[in-house]
Structure formats: structure tokens, C-alpha cells
């Protein structure tokens, strides 16, 4: 069993590269976009607000799997073609931006009005107030929910195997079929557990960092 494990390990690890790249790039895109979207959801410009609300509803109201299939197989029918990884990255970024936008919107809402007023009396511009007073406080508030989504993202990334992308999940499935054994899937589980375990610890650490004030 150990031997079996060792033979599939290189394939699983190469799958992990795809998984981690998708994970990292999705976060890199969707966190800043989520913040922008959250600010947009609070704007007084009605058309922008409604458009963003519709977007968030669409993304959170349909399965990510469906969105993946639509981006990769659906968009080409209207002439927009992405290669596999870009399609996956696009679908994931669009989807996670919507979730992060909702999280940040809630966080922004929980900043007391008095903080905005204190900033206004000190003549900070709305932009400076957002950047220096609101966003830093929002991060602390949303960190736990943000962490949940980040861990979901690791697991959701396994959905890309239906596009034929060689992630950990797909590597495991191929090995399983070739070896006619479930051991590779145990390997897959171990890898996901390790990844989410490391993330859980890092997020705890980050939360502690933000505990420098109450």
C-alpha cells in the first residue's frame, strides 16, 4: 500500500501545481475585485448598484459547476473561446468575487457612522476615509468569513477536473482507474487535508495578528 502510494505521489504533486495556481490566482483577482464590488454595492449611482446586485445574485444563485461549463463550453458558441485554464480562472474569479463582495459589503456596513464623521471633521476626503479608516477595520471584521471562503476555494478547485484540467482530483482519478485501486483517492484526501490544514493555521495566525486592537 505504501508503495502504491509512493508511485502515485508524483502525479498527485504535479496536479497540486494546477490546483495551487488556480487557487492563488483566483484569490489574487477576486479579493481586490470583491472590495471594489462591495464599494460599488454601496454607491448612490443606482444603475451601477443594480447591475452589481444582479451580478452577485447570478453568481451566488447558480452552481459554480454550471458556471464553469458555461464559460468553457457555452461561450465558444457565441465566439468567445478560452483555453481550459483561463476558462477555469475566469469562472472562479467571477464566482468568488461575488462571494467576497457580499462579505466585504457586510463588513463595510458594520463600521460605525461616527468613524466616517470623525474622518469628515478632520477633512479627510471620502477616498482617504475608505482607504485609511474603513478598509483596514473591515479586514479584521471579515477575516473569519473570508477564511471560510478561502478554504472552500481549495476544495471547489477540484471542480475543474470536468474541464479536463490536470489538478489533484483528476490526477487521483486517473491513477485510481489505472491501478484499479482506491489508494490514490486516499492520497488525494491527504493532500486536500494538508492544504486546508495549513490554510486554517495561517488564517488563525492572521486573525491573531489583527488582534492588536479591539
Amino acid at each position: 500500500m505504501i508503495r502504491e502510494f509512493i508511485t502515485v505521489l508524483p502525479q498527485l504533486l504535479s496536479g497540486m501545481k494546477t490546483t495551487l495556481t488556480l487557487f492563488g490566482l483566483t484569490l489574487l483577482g477576486s479579493i481586490p475585485l470583491g472590495i471594489l464590488c462591495a464599494l460599488g454595492l454601496k454607491t448612490s449611482i443606482k444603475p451601477v448598484k443594480y447591475l452589481l446586485e444582479a451580478y452577485v445574485w447570478l453568481m451566488r444563485g447558480t452552481p459554480l459547476l454550471l458556471q464553469l461549463i458555461l464559460v468553457f463550453y457555452g461561450l465558444p458558441t457565441v465566439g468567445v473561446v478560452f483555453e481550459r485554464f483561463s476558462a477555469a480562472l475566469l469562472a472562479f474569479t467571477l464566482n468568488y468575487t461575488a462571494y467576497f463582495a457580499e462579505i466585504f459589503r457586510g463588513g463595510i456596513q458594520s463600521i460605525p457612522k461616527g468613524q466616517y464623521e470623525a474622518a469628515a471633521v478632520l477633512k479627510l476626503t471620502p477616498r482617504q476615509t475608505t482607504r485609511r479608516i474603513v478598509i483596514p477595520q473591515v479586514f479584521k471584521i471579515v477575516l473569519p468569513s473570508l477564511g471560510n471562503e478561502v478554504i472552500n476555494l481549495v476544495k471547489d478547485s477540484s471542480l475543474v477536473y470536468i474541464l479536463g484540467l490536470g489538478d489533484v482530483m483528476r490526477a487521483g482519478k486517473i491513477a485510481m482507474e489505472r491501478e484499479a485501486s482506491l489508494i490514490p483517492l486516499v492520497g488525494v484526501a491527504v493532500i486536500y487535508l494538508l492544504l486546508t490544514g495549513i490554510l486554517t493555521l495561517s488564517l488563525k495566525e492572521l486573525e491573531n495578528k489583527f488582534n492588536y486592537y479591539h
Partner: protein
Amino acid sequence: MLTLRQIDKSFGDKQVIHQLNLTVEKGELLAVVGASGGGKTTLLRLLTGLEKADRGEFLMDGLPFYPDKGNKKNQLVGLVFQDFQLFPHLTIQENLLLAPSLVKEEKPEAYLAKSEKLAKELSIQDLLALYPYQLSGGQKQRVAIARAMMMSPSILAYDEPTSALDPNLKKQVEELILTLKKQGMTQIVVTHDWDFAQDIADRVFELTDLV
């Protein structure tokens, strides 16, 4: 000298301030008293631009000004909030320096020196590295005063400066306000505490309830 002429302010159909005329001399310490709901906080919010007057004029030394339109360089009225509203994620020092560093067109050394001077005067020099949650009510208030003073306002206004403090701290605030007065600071103190008002103020102005 600050002059308010015929100021009106309503919320919906509730008129809170009606044809208010008021003059505050340079260096004067004015106490504003009145019943709860009488519009004291609203008056301070009008002066600092947090609310917009429906009608009337604000003059500083005879020249009109518009509190709700930002005037970056010369902040006219600074405000010490009733609940201080320090920025919790910033150290005391950062609370003092944030606004001047973003808004004022001065050299960093200039406002750094100013913050040190103010910190000493307000006895908060040992607190600069701490965060607001680590401070007592009285300490927070002194930081709030210092933060407002960092912007060199022509007038410093306080909303109920004694309401969050226990009685022995009241005395301290009183002394502090009187010290600032000696330095020539023009101050408006909103309070529901008549004794406090009469103790410290050059003049007591009563905002009457309109309903």
C-alpha cells in the same frame, strides 16, 4: 470672531433650530446648554459641516464660510465627539498624525513637533504607542482633544465633554479647557450640566426647545 445669522435647520417637518443668531468672540469660552433634544448636537454638526443648514449664514471674522464645503487648509471648527470616535486600528500617535499628514500641506517635521508639544500639554506623551482600547475614558478624551487640535482649528467644540467621565475626571477636563482658554483658544462647550457651564464659561447660551 464667529457669527451665525438666522440659521434654520429642520429634520423632516421637525424644526430643530429656528432663526438662530449667535456670536462667539475670539478667545471666548462659550457654554451651550438646553433641554435634551434642544438641538445642541445639531448646532455643533452644522458648525462642522456634518449637517447642512437650511438657511442662514456663517461668518468668520466677517467673512462668510461654508462648513459643509471642505476647506482643507484652514479648518475652522474642530470637534471633540461625545464618544470620542478615535480610530481603533491606529495607535494614539497615528490618530494624531493621520489627518495632518493627509490633509495639511506642511512638512512632516512640523506636525510631528506639534504632536509632541500637544501630547506633553495634554499629558498623553506616554500613551502614544498604545491603541485606543487600552486607554481610560479621560485619556481617550484628551487624545480626542489633541487630535482635533492637530488640525489647528480656529474654534474647538465639545459635545458633552463630561458625560462619559466620572466626577473627579470632570475637574480635570474643566482644567484642561481653561488651560486651552488661557492659550487663546476659542471654545464652544455643549453640556446639559448647568453647574459645569457656569463654572467654566465666559458666557452661557441657552438653546430653547422649539416644541
